[in-house]
C-alpha cells in the first residue's frame, strides 16, 4: 500500500513545553484517519508540521512520497483549518474569489485564473450546494455557509490528501450530516485520503476507518476494529467510551 504520509521520530517543543514526543506513524492511500486527543494533546501542531507550517525540532516527514523539505505538489493537498482562524471578517472577497484562491497552487508565475478555471470553481460550488452564493461576500454568510466555502476551496483541486481541523464546529446537525456524507463519498468513490481532527472522539467511529489518538505521543493508532478489541485501550478510555466509539462504528 502506498504511503501518503510518513512521520518518523517527530518531536516538537513550544519554548520549554513539550507538545509532541517521538511520534512515528504512516497513513496509507485511501485511509480515513480520525485524529483525536484532548485539548493541548498536539493534534493541530502535528497537522501543521505535516503541512510545513511549523518546523519540527526533530523528525522526518514525507508527504506523497517526497521529503517535506523538497515537497512542491501543494495542489494535491486540501486543508480546512479551524473556522475561527479562517479570515479577517472585514475582508471584501466574494465566495468565487475565495474558492478560486484554491487553484493558484497549480499555477506558475504569473498566476492567473482563466475562464476554464471558472468552470472548475463552479463545479466545486455546485458539489457543495453553494452555487447560489457565488457572488456573495464571504463575510455576509453564516458560519455553516462559510465552512462549506472553505471546504470548496480545499476540494477545488480534487486533492489526494484532505486535512480537516475540527470541521464540524460551525455546522448545524443537518449541515453536519451532509458534510460527513460528502467526505464519505470523497473517500470511497474518489479514493481521497482524509485526516480528520476532532476532540469529539465519540463520533470518530462514525466516519473514520482508522483512529490516531494523541497525547503528546501516540496512545493508539490502528484500525477501529483493533481499537475495539484492545483491552489496553479499555484501560485508557474506560469501557463506556470505548463502547461508544465502537458502537457507532
Amino acid at each position: 500500500m502506498e504511503k501518503i504520509v510518513e512521520v518518523k521520530n517527530l518531536s516538537f517543543k513550544y519554548g520549554v513545553a513539550e507538545v509532541l514526543k517521538d511520534v512515528t506513524f504512516s497513513i496509507d492511500r485511501g485511509d480515513y484517519v480520525g485524529l483525536g486527543g484532548h485539548n493541548g494533546s498536539g493534534k493541530t501542531t502535528l497537522v501543521k508540521i505535516i503541512l510545513g507550517l511549523i518546523t519540527p525540532d526533530v523528525g522526518d516527514i514525507s508527504v506523497l512520497g517526497k521529503n517535506l523539505k523538497k515537497f512542491k505538489q501543494w495542489s494535491k493537498i486540501g486543508y480546512l483549518p479551524q473556522s475561527l482562524s479562517l479570515f479577517n471578517p472585514i475582508f471584501p472577497a466574494t465566495v468565487y474569489e475565495v474558492v478560486s484562491l484554491g487553484l493558484i497552487s497549480k499555477k506558475k508565475f504569473p498566476r492567473r485564473i482563466t475562464k476554464s478555471d471558472e468552470k472548475i470553481v463552479d463545479n466545486a460550488l455546485q458539489e457543495l450546494e453553494i452555487i447560489d452564493l457565488k457572488n456573495k461576500l464571504i463575510s455576509e454568510l453564516s458560519g455553516g455557509q462559510q465552512q462549506r466555502v472553505f471546504l470548496a476551496k480545499a476540494l477545488v483541486n480534487e486533492p489526494e490528501l484532505l486535512i480537516l481541523d475540527e470541521p464540524s464546529n460551525a455546522l448545524d446537525s443537518k449541515s453536519r450530516n451532509h458534510f460527513f456524507d460528502l467526505l464519505h463519498d470523497l473517500n470511497k468513490k474518489k479514493g481521497t485520503t482524509i485526516i480528520l481532527i476532532t476532540h469529539d472522539i465519540g463520533h470518530i467511529g462514525e466516519h473514520a476507518n482508522k483512529l490516531l489518538y494523541l497525547d503528546k505521543n501516540i496512545v493508539f493508532y490502528g484500525k477501529l476494529s483493533e481499537f475495539c478489541d484492545s483491552e489496553s485501550m479499555e484501560d485508557v478510555f474506560g469501557r463506556e467510551s470505548q463502547h461508544l466509539i465502537c458502537h457507532q462504528h
Partner: protein
C-alpha cells in the same frame, strides 16, 4: 481666483501636479488596501517618519533628499520586517521603534544644521504644486514599476492578505510576499511625501482603502474603488486648493475623508 478652468489646467505645474498626484494616489490606494486588511495601516506613518530622518540627512549632506531617502526607507522597511520576525515583537511595535528612531534622527540633524529650514518644512507638509519635471518622471516610472509588480503578483498578495497560513499551504512563500509589500510601501511613501507631506502620508494609504471597504462587493472591485477614490480626491483636492487658496495636500486628505464619510453613510442607508 479670476482665471478660467482651461487657463488653470494649461499651467505646466498644474499638469505635473495632476499627473504625479494621480499616479501616486493610485499606488497608495492599492497598496493601502493590502496594508489595511493586514492591520498594517500605520506602516505608512512609520516609514514617513523614517523619511523625515532620511530627508534631513540628505539636506544636511547636500544631496537631493528624495533620491537619498528611497534606499534608506527601503532598508528601514526591511528592518521592520526582520525585527518582527527575529525579535519576537508585534509589527506595530517594530514600526513604532523604527519610526521614532527615524524621527529622532531627523530632529537631531535639523538641530545640528541650525534648526528646521524651509526645505525641510516643505517635506513635512508637501507641496504638490511645486513638483518638478524630474520628480514627475520619477513618480511615473516608479509607479509603473510598482503597479506592474502588484499586477504580476496579484494572487500571491491576495492570498497572503486573505490568510497567511492558507497561502503557505498553497506553496506561496508568505515571508517573501510580506517583505515585498513593505518594500513597495517604502518606495511609495517617499513618492507620496512630495504630494501630501510626511505628516499626512498615512492618510493617502488608509482613507481610499477604508472607503472601498464600505461599498465594495469583492476584492477586485475594492481595488478599483480604492484607486478611483484616490484619483477623485487628487482632482477635487487640487481644484479646491487652487480656487479656495488652500494647501493642496491637506485639501486632498479632507476630500478623501469626505468621500469616506459619504461611503459610510451610503452603506448605513442600505
Amino acid at each position: 481666483m479670476d482665471i478660467s478652468f482651461f487657463e488653470f489646467i494649461n499651467y505646466s505645474f498644474v499638469q505635473r501636479a495632476f499627473i504625479s498626484g494621480i499616479f501616486v494616489g493610485i499606488l497608495c490606494s492599492i497598496l493601502g488596501l493590502f496594508l489595511v486588511l493586514r492591520k498594517l495601516s500605520l506602516i505608512g506613518d512609520g516609514l514617513a517618519h523614517v523619511s523625515f530622518g532620511a530627508i534631513a540627512l540628505g539636506v544636511f549632506c547636500g544631496f537631493y533628499p528624495i533620491y537619498f531617502a528611497i534606499p534608506i526607507v527601503i532598508i528601514s522597511s526591511i528592518f521592520i520586517v526582520k525585527l518582527t520576525q527575529k525579535a519576537k515583537i508585534y509589527g506595530d511595535t517594530a514600526i513604532g521603534i523604527v519610526s521614532s528612531v527615524g524621527l529622532a534622527g531627523g530632529v537631531l540633524l535639523a538641530s545640528a544644521s541650525n534648526g528646521f529650514n524651509v526645505s525641510l518644512l516643505s517635506y513635512l507638509f508637501g507641496n504638490i504644486l511645486a513638483i518638478s519635471t524630474s520628480e514627475t518622471y520619477l513618480s511615473i516610472a516608479l509607479s509603473l514599476v510598482v503597479l506592474a509588480i502588484v499586477y504580476l503578483l496579484y494572487y500571491e498578495l491576495f492570498a497572503v492578505t486573505f490568510n497567511e497560513e492558507q497561502a503557505n499551504v498553497t506553496g506561496i512563500k508568505s515571508d517573501r510576499i510580506n517583505l515585498l509589500l513593505v518594500i513597495l510601501t517604502a518606495i511609495t511613501v517617499v513618492l507620496a511625501i512630495r504630494v501630501v507631506g510626511i505628516m499626512l502620508v498615512s492618510s493617502f494609504f488608509i482613507l481610499p482603502a477604508v472607503t472601498a471597504l464600505q461599498i465594495s462587493k469583492g476584492f477586485k472591485s475594492a481595488i478599483f474603488v480604492s484607486a478611483f477614490t484616490a484619483i477623485l480626491s487628487v482632482i477635487i483636492g487640487i481644484f479646491a486648493s487652487f480656487y479656495l487658496n488652500l494647501p493642496a495636500g491637506a485639501s486632498i486628505v479632507i476630500v478623501n475623508f469626505i468621500l469616506f464619510l459619504l461611503s459610510f453613510l451610503w452603506r448605513k442607508s442600505m
